[in-house]
Structures are given as structure tokens and as C-alpha cells.
């Protein structure tokens, strides 16, 4: 009895498997336990709450809603704006990915951190900043697309950049020496090799944009609506659970369709020549200046809204002032239960918990996904784990309210629920960052290890783990940042009195008075600093990781 390690089912005849039947059995039990743990978490903290709230809503069904043309306009706009935002994020993110992966420039680590900053910023303040910067009072679909892309460029830059950095340059050099122009080389050699990472990024960004909420509310001005904002209105404002459930089902269908397309697209991804170490960077030459210039332009575009928020934190009626920052040591005249500094600590603390949970789940899932011999089962599990990104945060949050009290120790008002809900969103991101790297590991390396007498576990440890280590650290960093930004259901939970930075921003900005507003923006700036520091720390880990060997 042998276990085929290859996800693509390449010939394993030449492989020698060491291990008795007992060992095989033990492994199988082990993998099944991993799969069960991951799916169990997904079941308890996602499937159950969502199904419960849908069930309650559909007990008085509202089929008429599906017949209304307005519903389908909603679907069209949701998908359309998400597709446009994803395309823009991709176009803007690829030059950055190239810059980070291939080009030697000073201060790159800082730039990498900077690109991540938009991701954590509260959508309300970013939406307001975009309104101010674009000088638009009218509802504006273009502004929605722009803001969505602003938030998500980092996903593309980081996911694609990670793979690009390890892509063997020699294939490109060969193409160039055979007479292919730079564009053609990119199109025919580089892009196909990057495909798994590109599709991973596209899938994540698309899901994020299709459930984008705050941006659509602020910039859509009531004229532009998405399924997400409509589900929010019906659930939270109108308590029309029936209508909300119907729309949630439509959203679920759309997300499943998108995931299916993504899965097929990923499957066509070619195995690239991915090397264990990063290809050395170098100064740009010739045509490489074009993407470098483009990356510069994107960086500038990212900096402008960020700078606008920082400026806002420093401006008072009477000119420049540090009052907002001084106020961080207080509670904003009672608006917060704790000081701004304490909120920063709460953020870091919660994000840390969410990250380790997500890493644990994500890596277990990756191990199962890479190992599974049943391709369809792996795809199904992969898609199931992606669902939390595409299902309305309100649906999940309100689902928690009517289910989690049935578990021991009512989690609904527990501080633990926040990191748990965050882990749900981060786990699929971990998978999307790590899995492409694992899948593009040259099977011949594994075969060689096997030939040399390594068992499947040892192969995993000696071959896959070092190769994936950098990706794992990247994923950890990314997850931490997502948790800092508080995505998903946490906005709809009954929160304990330990506000994190994004919560502090929303509580401060909901009050009149110059000082509290200035403090809200200072808290935004603090959130940026925490993010940059976190990314820098993780970058340091990355360089020390065994992936370098």
C-alpha cells in the first residue's frame, strides 16, 4: 500500500515508500484528524451560524424578491464592481510584485510595509478621505472601484511577489536570448509561471471586493448598492430576515460560481520552476524600468490617501497641532473605556491570537490539501474554507447571536469570539498564500527525497517545509494585518470593553468635537504604525527563515 503524495497524480512508480501498514494507517488517521479539526472549526464558527440564520429567515420565504428586477441589478452591480476593482488591483499590484521580487532598491522593506497599510484602515475614514480627495459629493461608482483597489493592492503585490521572487530567472533569460521582447517574455514565460499566485490573489481580492461594505455605503451614497449593503440594511436596520436570507442565498450562489471558476483556472496553472531560494534582486535594466516606473506611480497613489489621514490627525482649526496624539494617553473625553495606547495593545493582542489560530488551521488544511489523493475532495475542502470571505459578515455575526449560546460558556459576549471570528477570515488567506508555493514545489524534489529513502513525512519536513517556510511567515504577517484591520463579523458582535484600534476610531469619530475627531485620526495613524512595525518584525523573521537555504 502506498500513499501518492503528488497532488497532480504524476507517476509515483519510481518512488519507494518506507513504512509499514501500521505507519500508513497512523498517517491516514493523522490526516483525517487534521481534516476533521479544520472542517469542525469551519462547521461550528461558520456553517452552523450561517445555516441557522438562513433557516430562520427562510421559514417565511420571500420568493417575490427573486422576481424583482432590482434584485438582479444588485447582483450585476455587486459582481461588476468587484470584477472592476479586482482588475484594477491586479494591474496596480503586478508592478509592485515585480518591484518587490526582482528589483534591488533601498528601503524595500519599508515600502513593503507601507503597501500593507491601506489594508488595515477603517473603511469609513478611507471612504471619507476618498470623497474629499476626489472632490465628489455625488455617488460615484468609479470612486468605489478605486477605493476597493486601494485596499487590495497589497494582496496582489504580496501573493504574486512571493512566488515571483522564487521564479527561476533563467527561463526568462532563455526566452530573451531567443529573441522574444520583454512583453512577450512576460506574457509567455513569466505570467504562466505566476498563474497559481495570480489566481489565488484574484480569488481573494474578488471575494473581498464583492463583500465590500463601508466603502460602498460611503461612496455609493445610497444610489449604488451591493448585495452586502442590502443584506446589512435588511438584517440590521429592518430585521427583515426573510429578505436578507434570500439575498444571502443569491450571494452564496455567486460566490460558489466565482470559486468554481477560480478552481478551474488554478488547475490549469503550470508547475513553475520554483527554486528553494529567492532569485537575487538586481538594479533594473532596459525595459525593466517600465514596471518600476509603474510601481512608483502606484506607490504614490497609495500614499496620497494615507497622507491625507495623517494630515487630518495633525490639523486643528488653529493650524498644526499634536493634540490628537497627546490625547492618545486618555480616553477621548470618555468616548473610549481605555486609552489609545491600551487600544493598540488590545489590537496587537487580539491579532496575535487570531493569527496563531488561523496559522494552525491553515497549515493543517494545506497539509491535507496537498496530500489528498482525491482531487475533488481537496477542491471541495479548499472552496469550503474560502466561503467565509464571500459570505456577508452580517449574516455570520447575527448567526452567532442565535447559535453560540448553545456551546458551553456562552461565547457570544466573550472576548474570545473576536479572534475566533477573525481566524475564520484569515485561514483561507493562509491557504491561498502557502498552497501555491507547496503546489509549485517541483515534484522531482520530493521524488528524489523518496528515492534517497525519506518517508512521506520526512519528505514533507525536508522538502516542503523549508520551501514553504517563507510563505508561512508571509501568511502569518498577512493574517496579522488582516486581524489588525478587523474584517468580517466582528463589527456585528456584542463587544467587551476592550476596544481595538479600529473600534476606537469608530467610537471616537461618532462624537462631535474637534479633539475627539483629531484623536480618531491619531488612532488611525497609530494603527498604521502598529501595522508597519508588525510587518517589519515579520520581514525580519522572513529573512532568517530556513527558506533562504
Amino acid at each position: 500500500m502506498t500513499v501518492d503524495l503528488s497532488p497532480r497524480g504524476s507517476p509515483s512508480a519510481g518512488r519507494r515508500d518506507v513504512g509499514t501498514d501500521n505507519g500508513v494507517l497512523l498517517r491516514r488517521v493523522g490526516w483525517s484528524a487534521c481534516a476533521l479539526l479544520v472542517l469542525g472549526f469551519l462547521g461550528v464558527f461558520f456553517a452552523w451560524p450561517v445555516l441557522a440564520i438562513l433557516h430562520r429567515g427562510l421559514s417565511t420565504p420571500d420568493p417575490g424578491l427573486l422576481a424583482e428586477p432590482q434584485t438582479w441589478r444588485l447582483v450585476a452591480f455587486t459582481v461588476g464592481q468587484a470584477a472592476a476593482s479586482t482588475a484594477l488591483a491586479l494591474v496596480a499590484g503586478l508592478p509592485l510584485a515585480f518591484l518587490f521580487a526582482r528589483v534591488r532598491i533601498p528601503g524595500k522593506v519599508l515600502l513593503r510595509a507601507l503597501v500593507t497599510v491601506p489594508f488595515v484602515l477603517p473603511t469609513l475614514v478611507v471612504g471619507m478621505a476618498f470623497r474629499a480627495l476626489l472632490g465628489t459629493d455625488e455617488p460615484n461608482a468609479f470612486a468605489i472601484v478605486l477605493a476597493n483597489a486601494f485596499f487590495n493592492v497589497a494582496v496582489v503585490a504580496r501573493t504574486v511577489g512571493g512566488l515571483w521572487a522564487r521564479l527561476d530567472r533563467r527561463a526568462e533569460d532563455a526566452a530573451r536570448s531567443l529573441g522574444a521582447g520583454p512583453l512577450r517574455t512576460f506574457r509567455t514565460v513569466t505570467l504562466p509561471a505566476l498563474r497559481p499566485a495570480v489566481f489565488s490573489a484574484v480569488a481573494v481580492v474578488f471575494l473581498f471586493c464583492s463583500t465590500s461594505f463601508g466603502v460602498v455605503l460611503v461612496l455609493g451614497g445610497g444610489r449604488y448598492r451591493t448585495l452586502e449593503t442590502e443584506i446589512y440594511l435588511r438584517t440590521v436596520r429592518l430585521l427583515d430576515l426573510s429578505g436578507a436570507a434570500t439575498l444571502s442565498l443569491v450571494q452564496l450562489a455567486a460566490v460558489l460560481a466565482a470559486l468554481t471558476v477560480a478552481a478551474f483556472a488554478r488547475r490549469r496553472g503550470g508547475a513553475a520552476g520554483v527554486s528553494g531560494s529567492e532569485v537575487p534582486t538586481r538594479r533594473p535594466r532596459g525595459a525593466e524600468w517600465a514596471p518600476v516606473a509603474a510601481a512608483g506611480a502606484v506607490l504614490l497613489a497609495l500614499v496620497v490617501p494615507i497622507a491625507a489621514l495623517v494630515v487630518r490627525s495633525l490639523r486643528s482649526r488653529d493650524g498644526w497641532s499634536l493634540d490628537g496624539y497627546r490625547a492618545l494617553s486618555g480616553t477621548g473625553q470618555g468616548a473610549l473605556e481605555v486609552s489609545g495606547w491600551q487600544a493598540a495593545w488590545n489590537s496587537a493582542h487580539t491579532a496575535f491570537d487570531a493569527t496563531w489560530m488561523a496559522l494552525l488551521l491553515g497549515l493543517l488544511a494545506c497539509a491535507v490539501l496537498v496530500t489528498s489523493r482525491r482531487r475533488w475532495a481537496a477542491e471541495l475542502m479548499d472552496a469550503a474554507l474560502m466561503l467565509p470571505l464571500g459570505v456577508s459578515a452580517v449574516t455570520v455575526g447575527f448567526g452567532y447571536l442565535i447559535t453560540l449560546h448553545l456551546l458551553p460558556g456562552d461565547l457570544r459576549t466573550s472576548p474570545l469570539l473576536v479572534p475566533l471570528a477573525q481566524a475564520l477570515v484569515i485561514t483561507p488567506l493562509v491557504i491561498r498564500v502557502v498552497l501555491p508555493v507547496l503546489r509549485s514545489v517541483d515534484d522531482r524534489l520530493r521524488a528524489a527525497a523518496a528515492t534517497l529513502g525519506a518517508g512521506p513525512l520526512r519528505t514533507r519536513r525536508e522538502v516542503d517545509l523549508p520551501l514553504a517556510a517563507r510563505a508561512v511567515v508571509t501568511a502569518a504577517g498577512f493574517g496579522f494585518v488582516v486581524a489588525l484591520g478587523e474584517f468580517g463579523a466582528t463589527g456585528f458582535l456584542a463587544r467587551p470593553e476592550s476596544p481595538t484600534l479600529p473600534v476606537a476610531v469608530s467610537e471616537l469619530i461618532a462624537r462631535p468635537g474637534e479633539l475627539t475627531t483629531q484623536m480618531a485620526y491619531a488612532v488611525c495613524a497609530l494603527l498604521m504604525v502598529v501595522t508597519v512595525v508588525a510587518v517589519l518584525v515579520i520581514e525580519t523573521l522572513r529573512t532568517d527563515s530556513p527558506g533562504e537555504f
Binding site: 442565535i402 459576549t413 479572534p419 463587544r495 468635537g513
Partner: protein, 352 residues
Amino acid sequence: MKRHTARWTRAAVALAGVLSVAGCSLIGTDGGSADSGTVTLVTHDSFAISDEARESFERESGYELRVRKTGDAGALTNELVLTKDAPIGDVAFGVDSTFYSRALDADVFVPYRPRGSASIPVKYAVADTRLTPIDAGDVCVNIDKRWFAEHDVEPPRNLRDLTEPRYRGLFAVPSPETSSPGLAFLLNTVATFGPDQGWKNYWSRLVDNDVRVSSSWQEAYNQDFSGSSGSGQRPIVLSYASSPAAEVDDQGRARTEALLDTCYRQVEYAGVLRGAEHPKAARELMDFLLSWTFQSQVPEQMYVYPTVLGVELPENWERVAPRPEDSTELDPRRVEDNRAEWISQWRELTRR
């Protein structure tokens, strides 16, 4: 076989290590379990209490006060309705006049008349003992006084004035769909101009007069309004009667003013949740919410007016943010029956 086992053991040990570190970090968060010495208050995001008031309650009652915040008044009410069979706390504070009937219809509260309810004046009092009025936050049109002085324009006085051409493009208001004060303003127009065609005509004229509708009070007040720190373009905004108290300059003068003939009375209620785990503590907390200690700090903590007779406002409030006397109101029953339809009609009216 042995080798495999050893490897699994190693992996298990490593995992256990990670989990224990992580476990420590989780334990660091304040305890999630509800013991008998606590009382949980479920409320909206704008709730705030001074340290002194909280300590006073905890010292005198012996209960630890836990606060759980969620969304705004609407979100809070709907969450209470949804969790009726297994409430997420003992007392809920923050159901407002707009959602009053929904909470009562769903029967999420049990009757209780807290000590001190006799001192609630008639204009706030309600017959039903399941909810007790705790504070009032009147929603009023605010103006930027300096803008009107500089531009030598007479400020508007009432809602009707806002449709006049000279105030064209000057008014910012949050949407009734997504904002609690926005909804109060819509109800104000219904109360002022009539439930049939009156309020719709008014809104049509507002739209023609280039009213700016944004998704939240935060946007309208902090970004569109010229009188706040956001320095926006519009000198008229929908906010609260109390907002000018937050816009006072060094000389103690308010830069903004609430127009007292444009107000809609929004009362916030509290009640003991049906099925509360700590009903006795819940009743003590209700008593506390009407006590002088709590009532006297609500203006500065939450920018609202106390409901108990004789509780004084902070010193400068009488001058810069006096309590409106003639606010409009709608019967909560009518609000509950028509809210969804009014909002949907409003949506049609303002779609451009």
C-alpha cells in the same frame, strides 16, 4: 514504526508548546464567564459612563458591571429581538423611541418600575413599565454661526426655511436608511408636514434645493458640515441639540447652534431583559440608571439630556445647548407600523 511514533510525538510536543504559549495569551483577556457577582449591560456603541459613576455602582451594589456594546439603537433592538430566547445580558439600554414598539412587540423586557421613576416628567414618561426612559437626545438642525455671519445671510429658523432658495446646497443630512438621527429627521418631517403627501412634498423640495444625503452622521457632521473640525462646505447639518456643547471655543462661546424649532424628541430607554441570568442585579442596575449619580453624568458622557426631573445640566449647557422644549414626536406604534414603508418611499423620492 518506532520512528514514525517518535516523529508524531515530537510534532505533538511542538504543537502543545505553541498552544500553551497561545493559551497564555488568551487567558490574558478578561474572563468570558459570567459569575454571580456580575451584571451585564447590553447597549449601543455610543454608550459611555464615567469611572466615578461606575465605581459608585460597583461599590454600593457589590456587582461588577460588564458592558457589551453593539451597533446603534436599531441594531441593538434587532439583536435583542433575535436573542430573545437566550438574552446576551441582564439589562439593555439604548432602545430609542424609533424602535420602542418593536422591542415591546417582541416582548424582550419584563416589567420593572425602578426607584426614581416617579421623578420622570410627563413628556418622557411611558405607561408601559417594561421600558424606562433614561435620557433624551433631541435630533435638531445645527448651523455654523460664523458662516452665516460672514456671508451676511439670515440663518434658517424652521424646517420649512430649509427649502428656500437662499439655503440651496447648504444642508447636509444623514440617510434614514443607515443612520439613527437620519431616521429621526425623516420622522420629524412626517410629524411636521403630515403623513400623506406633506412630508413627500417637503423632501422633493429639499432634494431640489440640493440637500446632501450621506450614509452616516459621522460623514454629515465631520466631513460635510463647515462648523465642525472637518471644515466642510455646508453650514447647515442634522445633528443633536447637544452638539454645540462640543464646539465651544476658548472664550466659552459655541461656534454652532441647534435650531430649537427643528427638533425631534428621541428618548432612550432601558429595561430588564426577559430571561436575564441575574434579575436581582438587573433591577439594581435599573435603579442606578435613574440615580442622580448616573443621570448627572449623561450629558458629558453621551451628549444627551437626563430624564429625571431636577438633575442639573453642566454649567455652560444652559447657554450653548439648552434643552429643546417643543420637540415634535410620533407615536411609537405609528413609527413601528410605517417605518419600513416610509423609508422605502423616501428611497424612491430621493433617487436621482
